[in-house]
């Protein structure tokens, strides 16, 4: 189908009925090869298309979406109806075209969305896993390409491509499990074989884990463990909407030394990553945003509607997922700080991942989670696996007192970060 033609039709029809209209279309094609019982079990191919419409009339924002191009009129009517109910707000207009608009590294031209390619990646995953005596219980490879198009009645008409290559593998040996994954827009950046090997190694090395007594220990969070706690708690606290609504712990702390004085947190939409983009979900040009520098809170993330409402500037932080309304998010968030080469000095417990990070209290920052694949570390060496324990703490307090960052930076979804050492943390052992 011709998206450009349909978009023009919706913009023209909507222009007569609202002050401004915006149309966002995505077209995706993806394939996925799934592992069942250690071999290739399912082969999937998916195509999807969606159109989301926003209308603005007298400061009231309406929204609707559809997966059926033939229902565009119904979708436009639904957006207008929704706008009649929304509360009116300060509104300074949708963006106008930016002549200097460039592009960001979001797509791999060489990535082929073919089931044979995904099947080849599964073979590599399994070959990696075969290096250790474990059973493979799941995982697979995904390849996808999507085309995104944003247009509005002010003349903006941007389009971009995104690609994704992702692999994962889950291994087990008796009651010891190991899970590893990797994803990138660029297929050459991921190594299915290394991912398979790492998952199998985790399951194998964690076998026969011992117990640990309740108490305070130094803890080394892997990038995965750190990302799941930070992603659930810190990222929402940086959202300007949460700040203005009174549900961010960081709300009244702009300019304050909130975190460890080496900590830097920034969003770089021009670095290669799954969120790379030159324009945000509102059509605002993106730029590097430093949220925390040397532990000082520098700014919050805003989309257009929140910025207009509260007299702030958009930071180009609107993100769109699927056919939903754009909301405040991050593109490629980086966490950096003082690196140490001796992260495992003395005695510590290393934590590969956590179970239950989504149950953390996003407002207070408090969490208590089960830890996965923990090891007892002495002088940098993993001496013995631990079977089970809980880690309890507070993310905002943790980020105030960081012992050091590793040199093992890793991309976990839209977050890139190294491992983090935190001393004197609360571990709850089992009876």
């Amino acid at each position: 189908m011709n998206e450009g033609y349909l978009t023009d039709k919706v913009l023209r029809a909507g222009d007569a009925l609202a002050d401004e209209v915006e149309v966002f279309c995505t077209r995706n094609r993806s394939v996925s090869a799934g592992i069942k019982k250690g071999i290739l079990g399912t082969a999937e191919e998916s195509e999807s298309w969606s159109m989301t419409i926003r209308t603005i009339k007298d400061g009231r924002i309406g929204f609707s979406s559809t997966g059926d191009p033939d229902r565009w009129r119904e979708c436009l009517d639904a957006a207008l109806a929704s706008g009649r109910i929304a509360t009116a707000q300060e509104w300074g207009g949708l963006p106008v075209p930016d002549a200097a608009m460039c592009s960001a590294p979001s797509a791999d031209l060489d990535l082929v969305v073919g089931i044979e390619n995904a099947a080849g990646m599964v073979e590599d995953l399994l070959a990696g896993a075969a290096e250790h005596p474990v059973d493979v219980v799941g995982g697979g490879a995904d390849l996808g390409r999507s085309h995104r198009e944003l247009a509005n009645t002010n003349g903006v008409a941007y389009s971009m491509e995104r690609t994704i290559a992702a692999v994962s593998l889950e291994a087990i040996r008796e009651q010891s499990t190991g899970y590893e994954f990797d994803a990138s827009p660029f297929i050459d950046e991921i190594s299915p074989r290394a991912v398979g090997e790492a998952a199998a190694s985790l399951a194998f090395r964690s076998l026969g884990g011992g117990r640990v007594d309740t108490g305070r220990y130094d803890v080394i969070l892997s990038p995965i463990a750190a990302a799941s706690l930070i992603g659930n708690i810190l990222i929402p606290a940086l959202s300007g909407r949460n700040v203005k609504a009174g549900r961010s712990f960081l709300a009244d702390k702009l300019g304050d030394q909130v975190f460890d004085e080496t900590l830097k947190i920034y969003d770089d939409p021009f670095r290669p990553g799954p969120g790379s983009t030159a324009w945000d979900g509102d059509g605002v040009p993106t730029e590097l945003q430093v949220f925390v520098d040397r532990g000082v809170l520098e700014r919050f993330a805003y989309d257009l509607r929140t910025a207009y409402r509260y007299g702030e500037e958009s930071t180009g932080s609107a993100v769109r997922e699927g056919a939903g309304e754009p909301g405040i998010g991050v593109h490629n968030l980086f966490i950096d700080g003082l690196r140490r080469s001796d992260m495992g000095y003395g005695q510590a417990i290393s934590v590969h991942s956590v179970v239950g990070a989504h149950t953390a209290n996003p407002f207070s920052g408090d969490f208590s989670v089960e830890i996965s694949n923990p090891f007892w570390i002495e002088d940098g060496e993993a001496i013995r696996p631990l079977r089970t324990a809980m880690l309890a703490g507070n993310v905002f307090e943790m980020l105030r007192d960081i012992e050091g960052f590793g040199t093992d930076d890793r991309r976990i979804g839209r977050l890139t970060l190294p491992s983090i050492r935190l001393n004197n943390q609360q571990i709850i052992g089992k009876q």
Partner: protein, 442 residues
Amino acid sequence: MTEARYYDIRCVRGEATLIDIDNGVVESAGTSFFDRTVVRVLGPKGWGILTRDHVDIDSKRQIGALVEAATRLAVATHDLVDLADAPRDLLPVPPLAEDPREIDLEEKTRLLAGIESAARIPEVANTRARYTEGIDQVRFLDSGGNEFSYEAVRSGFSVLAIASRNGVMQMGSERDHITTGFNLRDKQDLGRKAGEVAVSLLDAKLAKGGAMRAVLDPELAGVFTHEAVGHASEGDLVREGASVLAGKIGERIGREGLVIVDDPSLHEFGFIPVDAEGVGVRRTEIIRDGILTSFLHNRETLAAVGDGVPGHARAEHGAPPIVRMSNTFIENGDATYDEIMAECKDGILLIGSRGGQVDPGRGVFQFNAEYGYLIEGGEATDMVRDVSLSGEILSTLHDIALIGDDRRMSPGYCGKGGQTVPVSDGAPHLLLEGATIGGRGE
């Protein structure tokens, strides 16, 4: 040309309505439309699966082409799949007490605003309420000539209150979702409760971590059931070797008298009239009198594993069916709430849930309470906040000391394999011995 051994097509077309009110501001209120179809083909070995938008399920030509394309995909697979025979029947969908489609968006917004504003009591800094309504028109057909269609209507809301004092922020949240009609009327009480819980948590202590006796309320005990037993009994995890319950049918894994059930036919939030493979649904007793009795199956896992009941295949719109829970619960025992509190004597009473997660292969699960109270001498005393529990699947069910007589179901959503489906969980009050509490209090 390779022949398809079997195919099925599931088409879900419908509308989703969302209203979001944040601190009294109607942020959005609107309806979106979707129309997704999944075509599955069993080739010589395993599954080829295609997902498309707005397929005309009545067009033989279109269906034929999609089945052919899915068959080509299936050729890439190596894992030999067989399908067990399973009963075919379609339950009647419960009648709607009030059809949400007959109520206009203005009225829904007004009713939601009433719930949201009820949460705004002194010291509450933020209130937010969301209404979600889904109308799904489901059509299913397979190569065996089975054909079903039904309509599912879901309506419900969540309300969140955040209380704030001297830099301390605490939350209270309530939700209610049903499949039997429109669900926004006369619910201001839940808004007020969210506000009251948030404010009282401002004075709550941090729980101290360690092993202790715990009393779980029906909502939390439901999440416990879902995480501790439900997932590990899913036939796909058992087949893949990813569940500690594999090979344990007929073994005692819990105390005498313990009965754990998954029942998709109940008119709770996880109700389905027929499963996503066109298989009739029925009550499945996972555990009977403490003995592991049945796994939850789809046709594929029943053929591969046995020892269980099919009819547990479910799918999100535009995603292939996988084995899922629906309405999962512990049956009533005979202890009263007062007996449970008295027997606990010293421990912790835990209420509500912010969810949980399980590693079924390792046999370890975690789940989180919204708040709780210390129990001293059989009486609930000081309020505590941010309490998680963790446990081991194979031992935890032996640690249930008392089972209450007051089962209640709570609606929620469950994520697995990237898909989210509506479920409900429930149990009566439970007394757990030696529960591992993850608090950070000293």
